[in-house]
Symmetry: C2
Subunit: 217 residues, 2 copies
């Protein structure tokens, strides 16, 4: 492979990063061809990992009964979440669609095996959670690879991980990190849903950049 | 922006993902132009974040004295790490170059502000670490955006985060997630350093993919 990334290739990467969205309401039922899914998962398997640990597993869910069981757990958790706020804020929260579990043709649960490759992992001696961070790199690689295939991804985090563990028969020493909904979409919105809904706006970039050390109040 | 990613653009994204490396020994001293760094950080600021929290900050370090202080903390931690193993394994470990702190023109510390946007964050009610996962998505966006600019990144995790916090004057309620070395490189290797060194090999992709639920022993 030619090592040099051209300006045109770079622009394609930025286009993918900027047009990626967290998809909840725009999923189409159209199936994802096996070769396309294989490309996305193989890319994720080439994410960086601490000490080359590759601690991830990918559970690809197409079964409707399993999706319904997960959706039911989302609904319980979503009620618990809504109960934490009140008034107009609660009304707004309840008006938001926050998952696409049953509409998306594929769900993917990404897990982390904290014991993979043994006790001593290069780079994990002083920051033990590096294996989890590696797994998140694989998750974000799925997100971007999928976007480059014009496929949308939504990360469902309003759910109890213990319930995911039970439903998907995940061993106790393996931990679920993300539950993703994956599918083709009617559109990728210009802006994130929560910005469009007026929930929060994008922070000015200048406010999050510091020189040499922390220098804001 | 045209929403459709073409096949050629998709291929550019995969080329970037597959040719990304964790760089430790190939850094060149050449400075990174301000506009290039700005593009990389702006891309990172467009990473997904739970409840649109954008919990990250980016500390851009060019000061040699600060880099030397960080390098000294790496060296202490690296000795502690080596002491955990013995024999040929220890010899191999000690032969590996695991950081490029002073050779790379820019270091970037990425932090997570766990209280940003207040007590109630959509999607963080049941998985409290989602803000940390969002920060890791920003870190991996830096990695891929940098690669698309033909710039290398190395994540230094053999270090005590409390020391990073002190040296960079990071407030106690903000946590460092990654310390990155960033710069142009002499080359991007065909394979990860740890694979080339015979430390570990890539897991077969089939071994990490499951159908509908966990189905391996």
């Amino acid at each position: 492979m030619n090592q040099l990334i051209t300006d045109r290739e770079r622009d394609a990467v930025y286009k993918t990063i900027y047009s990626r969205r967290d998809i909840r309401q725009e999923f189409k039922a159209a199936p994802i061809p096996d070769d396309v899914l294989a490309r996305i998962l193989d890319a994720a398997h080439h994410a960086p990992s601490v000490g080359y640990m590759q601690p991830w597993d990918f559970i690809v869910i197409k079964d409707d009964e399993i999706k319904k069981a997960i959706k039911s757990e989302f609904e319980k958790a979503n009620k618990e979440a809504a109960a934490k706020i009140s008034g107009k804020r609660k009304e707004k929260y309840e008006s938001l669609k926050l998952e696409g579990i049953t509409e998306s043709p594929i769900n993917i649960c990404v897990t982390c095996d904290r014991n993979r490759t043994g006790n001593f992992v290069i780079g994990k001696t002083h920051i033990p959670d590096m294996d989890i961070y590696s797994t998140v790199c694989a998750i974000h690689t799925i997100w971007l690879a999928a976007r480059s295939e014009n496929i949308g991804v939504g990360w469902v985090s309003i759910i109890d991980n213990d319930k995911i563990q039970d439903i998907l028969k995940i061993p106790k020493d393996i931990i679920p990190i993300a539950y993703l909904c994956v599918g083709y979409v009617t559109q990728f919105s210009d802006k994130p849903d929560l910005e469009k809904a007026g929930w929060l706006s994008r922070t000015p970039i200048q406010s999050v950049i510091h020189e040499n050390h922390w220098n804001k109040n």
